[in-house]
Symmetry: C2
């Protein structure tokens, strides 16, 4: 019946509404073929580190396989991002500066991995300064991901992620993904839930801990292998458990905040 879905002149969708499958069906049903959208951000990933080797190649002494480019690319794709460029740069300040400058020109969002601590070869902060990036914060009271860097240059966002794979992905979910959601004017990020911890966890006060966890629908279990260079438990995790800064003994049954990871 004419006018039964919506009256002439009525608002169909509010500005900034998410174009879900239902919203697309709704618009198509009214014969609408073109809408203005926020494009998902174009992203450049800059992988730093002289010690990195590509999977499939033999490892020389002191080398490790690059895994961050693969994990980050998959995480970006899972969140609807299609324009992803991966650049590998040695630990040389000039080269890193050039790569970062190019990335700022081509992308809305730049993710660097490695080089944000204050070691001899940690050139990210210096390169960021040379590119005119304003530091918004550097270092956070958290584990993993303590050396996290965030800066901006005009509308461009730059995250300097630590080099350890588990830190990279934790910082992605807790900081980068919320930024992407905001840049895309989406309304939701990771789903949070308060659930009971199924196994006690102890830590020193002073840092927020993000633990790889497995939520079975009732309780959440902090998995083993929580070190930031290890990915084994992350591969089995379906959530990150947030244990607050000042907490030391988190006993079994305590309600904790979990961030459910996307499942595609």
């Amino acid at each position: 019946m004419q006018g039964s879905e919506i009256k002439k002149g009525e608002l169909a969708l509010t500005a900034n509404a998410t174009l879900t499958p239902a919203a697309m069906g709704f618009l198509a049903g009214m014969g609408i073929t073109d809408v203005m959208v926020f494009p998902p951000p174009a992203v450049t990933i800059i992988i730093t580190g002289n010690e990195l080797q590509n999977p499939g190649q033999p490892l020389a002494y002191g080398q490790v396989y690059d895994s961050n480019s693969f994990a980050l690319t998959a995480a970006l794709q899972q969140n609807g991002i299609r324009q992803i460029k991966v650049v590998t740069v040695p630990d040389v300040l000039d080269q890193l500066t050039d790569a970062l400058q190019q990335a700022l020109e081509l992308s809305d969002l730049v993710l660097l991995t490695g080089g944000v601590s204050v070691g001899d070869y940690d050139f990210v902060l210096e390169a960021a300064t040379r590119c005119g990036i304003t530091t918004r914060f550097h270092k956070i009271k958290q584990r993993p991901g303590k050396p996290l860097f965030f800066g901006t240059e005009a509308s461009k966002l730059v995250f300097g992620l630590p080099g350890n794979p588990s830190s990279v992905l934790t910082c992605f979910y807790m900081y980068v993904l919320p930024a992407i959601i905001a840049m895309s004017s989406k309304q939701y990020g990771l789903l949070e839930k308060q659930v009971p911890l199924s196994k006690s966890y102890r830590k020193a006060a002073g840092l927020t801990h993000f633990l790889k966890g497995y939520y079975d629908g009732n309780t959440v279990l902090p998995l083993g292998a929580q070190e930031s260079y290890r990915m084994r438990s992350f591969a089995a995790a379906n959530c990150l458990i947030e244990i607050e800064e000042q907490v030391t003994d988190c006993i079994e049954g305590t309600m904790v905040n979990i961030h459910l990871l996307p499942v595609e």
Copy 2:
């Protein structure tokens, strides 16, 4: 340190583990470049209905715009499916039978829309029989989506979805998506939650109702425009509220089961 992530000979990931971004990082970190995966199913969508017109074209008397192909394609893409073929077929038994036969040859999963009631032009059941499809069920005590058909032919799955857009998408989320999850050996589907209803809802006993709802993090609101031909509230919904078959008065504050829709 050599062997600190995993010992030689140890199992890295169990069979059927989901290849999350973390799992990909974990495998890459061990230098692994090739893994066996379950490919996502190839899908054919068969749109039936003489009354359908493409958005962008003028509507003749009695015509409505096809919206189901757009909503279903978007919903499939959002769930990682890339091989999607859309076929439009008039309400002619022979043509529908041919299209269905071809779809069974090319795809793992076939979705038909329209033609599953028992009207004069509802040929899906007859075409399914002619193609050797075994009926697993037809008609469910639910609203929307009462005429839903499900059949199988060897390993192929066939869903006959009702023609109304809101029924199509509700049946997609409640039946088709769980089937896709199972076919892909994934471990999770839509997240369910028990939350209080923020506005009373009345219905007759006899059918399970799936209501378009908006969950604000605390309570869930059943939206207006719940008719199965309307998509307006679906476009604003972030969950489906399940009100059980025998329930009649569901008063404000009652705990109800909600199925959170994917947000990509």
